[in-house]
């Protein structure tokens, strides 16, 4: 059975007879069954009638043979020697009272047929024979055969064949065409349903196409918004970088002012105080006061110097990032007593001031963290350019921390217990760079910083 409802390649194709073949399928199977029904109904009754009639004729022949044999026996018992010659006369007259469809034959015990005095040249065809023994004095003397014509039975069966054949044919036609008619209706409905299904499929395909177009349009719009967002982010990053640069420039200005004005003034004050000290040597009090004032001035000068240094590493302006990092490493080694190895390679193009300041500050912060928390003995600092980006690596052999601790430290500002790593990451991301910290307890810590050159 084939009921095809698969979507066709051509959406305009309608269901055809090849797609819905229920009627042909049913017809192919009902035809042999209907033929079988016609044969069985048409032939069963005539055959049964023929068989029953044959049974009846055979029983009649048997009964008649036994009756005639009894008559023959009675007569033959009076003439046991020549009964063969007397019996024909008897039979001839017995036979005259019987139906003409009855044939009688007598055969003696040696198989020889008696001459019955009737014309027996034409023995009718299709005879049903039955026999009965003829006994004389209790001994078998021969057999009497009675034959009845079966033609009438055959004619009756053939006559029955006509109405029952018509009946069987009618039933077969009903059995064949009624289901086919119903199946035709069902097939028509199925074809309608399939047509509707195809129509729905086409509508669905159209809807899918529309939906894909909408998705594509929305994707395009989203991509545009994303690009715009990225541009805005880049713009914000530029503005931020510019703001950082301005802030740095402001700091350097303040530092330069402090250095040029307050520092110079304090230096002059100190020189004056030193002259006063030399000239009022006899006066212990003046001397003491001047000394005290000088000490206070030195402390102030040192304080200002540290403040200036903290506002802007003047060494960057004076000697550049490479020298500043080397100097930072050397000063850190001298100050902490740790063994600090450094490798600084920078291209001639250099970096923007904001990048240099950020790298310097993050190197400072990393060394400060080592001093405070790592309990390290050796420190290695590397700075080098790679594919347009500037990379900084600070590695120690300290006690290290767990990755969870690193994650917490990078996400927690210093006021909440962080180690300055949060500020490093913010500074790094603000400039479009990345910060990565590798550390395991007992295995030291590595800080990897990557920033754009410009």
């Amino acid at each position: 059975m084939t009921v095809s409802a698969e979507p066709t390649t051509n959406p305009t194709t309608n269901p055809t007879a090849k797609e819905v073949e229920l009627r042909a399928y049913l017809a192919a199977r009902m035809l042999p069954l209907s033929l079988l029904l016609a044969i069985l109904v048409g032939c069963a009754a005539p055959l049964a009638d023929y068989v029953l009639t044959l049974h009846s004729l055979r029983a009649q022949a048997q009964t008649r043979a036994e009756q005639l044999a009894a008559v023959i026996e009675r007569e033959a018992s009076e003439r046991p020697v020549l009964w063969h010659y007397d019996t024909p006369k008897l039979l001839m007259h017995v036979h005259a009272n019987l139906s003409q469809q009855v044939e009688v034959r007598i055969v003696d015990r040696n198989g020889r047929a008696l001459e019955l005095g009737r014309s027996s040249s034409q023995l009718p065809d299709r005879l049903l024979w039955a026999s009965a023994p003829i006994k004389i004095d209790g001994k078998p003397a021969g057999f009497l055969w009675v034959g009845l014509q079966a033609d009438q039975a055959l004619r009756e069966a053939l006559l029955l064949l006509l109405p029952f054949g018509l009946l069987g044919l009618g039933l077969a036609l009903l059995v064949y065409f009624l289901p086919l008619r119903a199946m035709s209706r069902a097939e028509s409905q199925i074809r309608g349903l399939i047509a509707r299904l195809h129509q729905s499929q086409r509508a669905l395909e159209s809807f899918n196409q529309t939906l894909e177009q909408q998705v594509e349009q929305r994707s395009s719009e989203l991509q545009a918004a994303n690009n715009e967002l990225r541009q805005k982010e880049e713009h914000i990053r530029t503005l931020s970088s510019r703001a950082s640069a301005l802030q740095e420039a402001e700091r350097r200005g303040i530092a330069r002012d402090l250095h040029d004005s307050a520092g110079q003034a304090l230096t002059a004050i100190r020189i004056n105080l030193q002259l006063i000290e030399q000239m009022a040597g006899q006066q212990a009090f003046v001397e003491a006061t001047a000394s005290k004032t000088m000490a206070m001035t030195d402390a102030t000068v040192e304080e200002i110097r540290r403040a200036v240094a903290s506002l802007s590493p003047a060494i960057l302006d004076d000697f550049g990032l490479a020298v500043a990092v080397r100097r930072l490493c050397d000063d850190f080694g001298e100050r902490t007593g740790l063994e600090v190895a450094h490798s600084v390679e920078l291209s001639e193009e250099g970096c923007s001031p904001a990048i240099e300041t950020a790298v310097y500050r993050m190197a400072q912060e990393a060394l400060t963290n080592i001093k405070r928390h790592a309990a390290a003995e050796t420190v290695e600092v590397r700075l080098w350019p790679e594919q347009g980006r500037l990379k900084l690596e600070v590695r120690d052999d300290g006690k290290g921390v767990s990755p969870d601790e690193v994650a917490r430290a990078t996400s927690r500002p210093p006021e909440q217990g962080g180690r300055g790593l949060h500020g490093m990451r913010e500074r790094c991301e603000l400039l479009g760079g990345t910060l990565r910290i590798d550390s395991e307890p007992g295995c030291g810590t590595s800080v990897h910083i990557e920033l754009p050159m410009v």
Partner: protein, 309 residues
């Protein structure tokens, strides 16, 4: 792809085949084995009596009408001749049976009470008429009537008259069609022949098939009447009522003078081979002798010595 129901067709073929196979079996079973008597052995196949060889004997058999006279002749023939002990007269087998038995040489001499029929001519039998006997209307001894006219006889056989003159019921006893006694009446009395044939076809009366059966039936049937042989009555001294026909009493004299027209001739038939046997020749010679002629006359028969066909 639609597949053809090959298995369904195969199943249909199997069912139809089984159906017709079963039907054929039922028909064959109902019709029996279909074997009847062997058609190749129909008709004359020779004698049904064992060949006699060179044994000297004289068997005689045939019509019951011949038997009383023939037995009287045989008794006279063998009287005083112990060597003729092998002469036997069998019970009635009818004229036709006598012809076939003589043809087959089952007997040496067949006894017939009619002439040979056309289909019996080719047998080449010798026919020797030896006596003529009146056919009488015999009745049960209780019947009081002694005379019947021809019309009354026709009325009785046609069923229009059913009682005797004393009111007793008439019970007709018929012989089978072709019987020599009926033939003797039919030969000279066509109206009787028609009435007799109609009664026989209608099954109106009781039919007996041998002279002895007729004889017994006439004795035991009240009001019974039938055709019988005058010679048989005379020879055996039967106390039957013999009817005069139109006032003519049946007797040797009346048939000799022709006043009584209902009679039949009794004949011997034998093959030429049987005719050469000494005992047959001796018997035939005895019948033709004065002694034999006397026996015939004494029995109520008219001798036909010297006659022949």
């Amino acid at each position: 792809m639609r597949r053809k129901p090959v298995f369904l067709w195969a199943a249909v073929v199997v069912v139809v085949g089984a159906f017709f196979g079963a039907a054929t079996f039922a028909i064959v079973n109902a019709a029996g084995d279909g074997v009847g008597p062997d058609p190749t052995i129909r008709g004359n196949t020779g004698a049904f009596v064992e060949p006699r060889g060179n044994e000297e004997r004289l068997f005689l058999a045939g019509s019951g009408s011949n038997l009383p006279l023939t037995r009287a002749l045989v008794d006279a023939f063998v009287a005083g001749h112990p060597e003729r002990a092998k002469v036997v007269v069998f019970e009635s087998i009818g004229s036709s049976g006598g012809v076939r038995a003589a043809r087959d040489q089952a007997v040496e001499i067949g006894l017939i009470s009619r002439s040979l029929r056309e289909r019996e001519q080719p047998y080449g039998l010798q026919v020797v008429p030896y006596a003529r006997v009146a056919v009488v209307v015999a009745a049960n001894p209780s019947v009081s009537d002694t005379n019947l006219t021809r019309d009354e006889l026709v009325e009785i056989y046609s069923g229009r008259r059913t009682t005797w003159s004393d009111g007793a019921a008439i019970s007709v006893l018929q012989r089978e069609q072709g019987d020599s006694s009926h033939a003797a009446f039919a030969r000279v009395f066509p109206a009787f022949a028609r009435a007799d044939a109609e009664a026989y076809a209608a099954g109106r009366f009781r039919v007996v098939y041998h002279d002895r059966a007729m004889q017994n039936a006439l004795f035991v049937t009240e009001g019974g009447v039938g055709l019988f042989d005058f010679g048989a009555v005379q020879t055996q001294g039967l106390a039957l009522r013999l009817m005069d026909i139109d006032g003519v009493r049946p007797s040797v004299v009346s048939i000799e003078d022709g006043s009584y027209p209902f009679y039949k001739d009794l004949s011997f038939v034998y093959t030429s081979e049987s005719g050469k046997r000494p005992l047959v020749q001796a018997f035939l010679a005895f019948v033709a002798s004065d002694g034999g002629q006397q026996v015939i006359r004494d029995g109520g028969y008219m001798p036909l010595v010297g006659g022949g066909q």
